[in-house]
């Protein structure tokens, strides 16, 4: 199975029309997806979006209602979990508490009748840097160490696909960062296809070379993390992956190669190839760090072709690397802007009349029929509502 460079020849994982229904609810809805061999693939989505169900179907722990799963040309849909060339790193690690680390790691090999496991176990424990812990019990290890045992226990079987179910969820922030790098290193070293399920967008973006954003049982958008981030194709992705400022508008015409959208009596332009709106209803968007805030008196400095919105600063938070501005537009929408702290001093202050501007190249157009709130954390929405009510009360008083 091993090729000369130590990496294994692996094949693509194909999901075709995969559907899983729990009663009436389709947890996974007609999912078709190819995960290239040797890639680090992340399924990103909020809880309940179907990502874990998808993973469990690939692992064989859940039967699909319909559709097929195959690795290369081999259909594994009807194979039971223990017959599949797939291993899982479970969310809670699921290490066997009565076996020591060595036996935990050797478990898969022993079940497949491998007689001499010592060398392989030692090798994989070396890879995850846990050799001195071989004779300890799982409970004697720290969270990060247990996590690495779980990875080693799965990887030693040289699976065609390694599934990781929120593998870093139980670790604290610092350790999680460390393990992200560690996992990426291990993946590069062994060359196995990693399918990683997470709700943490940062985790998905740092590790994966392909991210699929999942929502309500289907994939909203898939691609390289940077591509998805820079050019979201749906409102859900724009809101779920990072933050976006979105303005509901109507397509009003063309200007050369650019689409012109009118929203709130303002015109915004964006390149045709950055617009994914089917009809005339368009949501115009831009990422907060692509926007600049300029005092109204300096507005003449803004390049002619830039999109712009005037407003009033309502909040300034200095965050070290950047400063976060909240700017209230005349139509009472809060725009969020991240300014790099390149220049010392000379920041705008609360109450200043300002102009927010950004390049059309950083603008994207989305289908306007869904509204601008899809994919925003419901808690954030609730908080915003409270804030608005409070602001209204204060204004009255």
């Amino acid at each position: 199975m091993a090729t000369s460079n130590g990496k294994r020849q692996v094949e693509d994982l194909h999901l075709r029309n995969l559907t899983k229904k729990f009663g009436e609810l389709a947890a996974v809805d007609d999912l078709t997806l190819t995960i290239p061999a040797g890639s680090f693939f992340a399924l990103l989505g909020a809880s309940g979006c179907g990502k874990t169900t998808t993973l469990r179907m690939v692992a064989g722990l859940e039967d699909p209602t319909s559709g097929t799963i195959s690795i290369g040309d081999k259909d594994i849909t009807d194979l039971r979990a223990f017959e599949r060339p797939v291993n899982t790193v479970f969310q809670s690690y699921a290490l066997f508490p009565h076996l020591d680390i060595f036996e935990n790691v050797a478990f898969g090999l022993r079940r497949r009748g491998v007689k001499d496991v010592t060398k392989q176990v030692e090798q994989i424990l070396d890879l995850v840097e846990l050799s001195p812990m071989a004779r300890r019990k799982p409970t004697q290890l720290s969270g990060g160490q247990q996590q690495r045992v779980a990875v080693a226990r799965a990887l030693i079987n040289q699976p065609d696909v390694l599934l990781l179910d929120e593998p870093l969820g139980a670790l604290d922030l610092k350790l999680r960062r460390q393990m992200q790098i560690e996992l990426k290193r291990i993946q590069t070293e062994v060359g196995t296809t990693f399918v990683h399920v997470t709700h943490d967008q940062e985790e998905a973006m740092t590790m994966a070379d392909t991210v699929a954003v999942m929502n309500a049982g289907h994939i909203e958008q898939m691609g390289h993390p940077a591509d998805i981030y820079e050019l979201p194709r749906t409102v859900f992705v724009a809101n779920f992956l990072g933050q976006s400022n979105l303005f509901q508008g109507q397509k009003s015409g063309m200007s050369g190669d650019d689409v012109v959208v009118s929203a709130h009596a303002q015109n915004f332009t964006l390149p045709t190839d950055r617009s994914f709106a089917g009809g005339n209803s368009v949501i115009v968007g831009a990422r907060p760090e692509k926007m600049r805030v300029l005092d109204e008196v300096d507005a003449h400095q803004i390049p002619e072709h830039h999109n712009r919105i005037s407003g009033r600063v309502t909040d300034v938070s200095y965050m070290g690397v950047s400063t976060q501005y909240l700017v209230m537009t005349p139509w009472e929408q809060e725009v969020i802007v991240f300014e790099q702290n390149v220049v010392v001093g000379d920041r705008c202050e609360v109450g200043d009349p300002v102009v927010v501007h950004w390049s059309p190249k950083h603008t994207f157009g989305l289908d306007g029929s869904s509204g601008t709130n899809v994919g925003v954390d419901p808690e954030v929405l609730a908080l915003e509502a409270v804030n608005q009510a409070l602001a209204a009360d204060i204004a009255e008083a």
Binding site: L61, E83, N87, T88, A94, F96, H98, G108, N157
Partner: protein, 298 residues
Amino acid sequence: MAHVVPTAGVSASPSVVAQRRSRTGYVLLLPGMAWLAIFFAIPLVTLFATSLQSPVEGKTGRYQPGFQFSNYSDAIAQYWPQFLRSFLYAGVATVLALVIAYPLAYFIAFKAGRWRSLMLVLVVAPSFASFLLRTYAWKTILADESPITRFLNTLHLLPDGRILNTWIAVVAGLTYNFLPFMILPLYAALEKIDPRLIEAAGDLYASPRKAFWRITWPLSMPGVVAGTLLTFIPAAGDYINAQLLGSAKNRMIGNAIQTNFIEFRDYPTASALSFILMAAILVLVFTYIRRAGTEDLV
């Protein structure tokens, strides 16, 4: 609790507080210790003293303090078959109870879902009726004319043509009566097992059968040990089942003790038998726990 400790010089120093606190612990132990002393330690000493008494010449049922160790050898010489039978019956009943209880406890723990509580209540429910009453009921169930006996007889499965008054009835009664003591600890142990461990075993190429023997069974070991002990110990000392369901050939050591105490008024022999039974069970239990290696689990 750190805030309770007063600053030095204001009132008691921390060491005094600590002392007082540890004294509180002992005070709280008192009721339990008193209970143990009055109802366990003192009777045990009395029992031991009785077991060494010698008969008063010419007066049956009267004994005087002494050190008649021959009471023990005499008791063993006379009652070794009853001892053997007790451990044999209790052993068979324990194994049977384990075989019956394990699948049931497994089902309740992993598959019963919302019926779980109801099933547990059903397991315990028979205990609401008296032990004696239930054993009498078995007399009817296993009687020669009962449907069960007739059915088994048509299959020619019964060597003596009957169940009642044979060892089968005694073992059946013991198994039935102590079954809840097997099911409950097994359930408690199985219920603690994370089902994801079994999924993980499946993910690591273990067939359901292998996953059971490699993961579920070893992890349920504390329950198996507790259940077998809770079944074996009372079953070995029981005399009701042998008396009501068995014949004279099926008498257990509990019957011997009872007869000696109540009928023959031979208190020293009865006491010696009780002591031997206790010692034998202690030895058996310790060997068993050593073998099962429970301290290595969990």
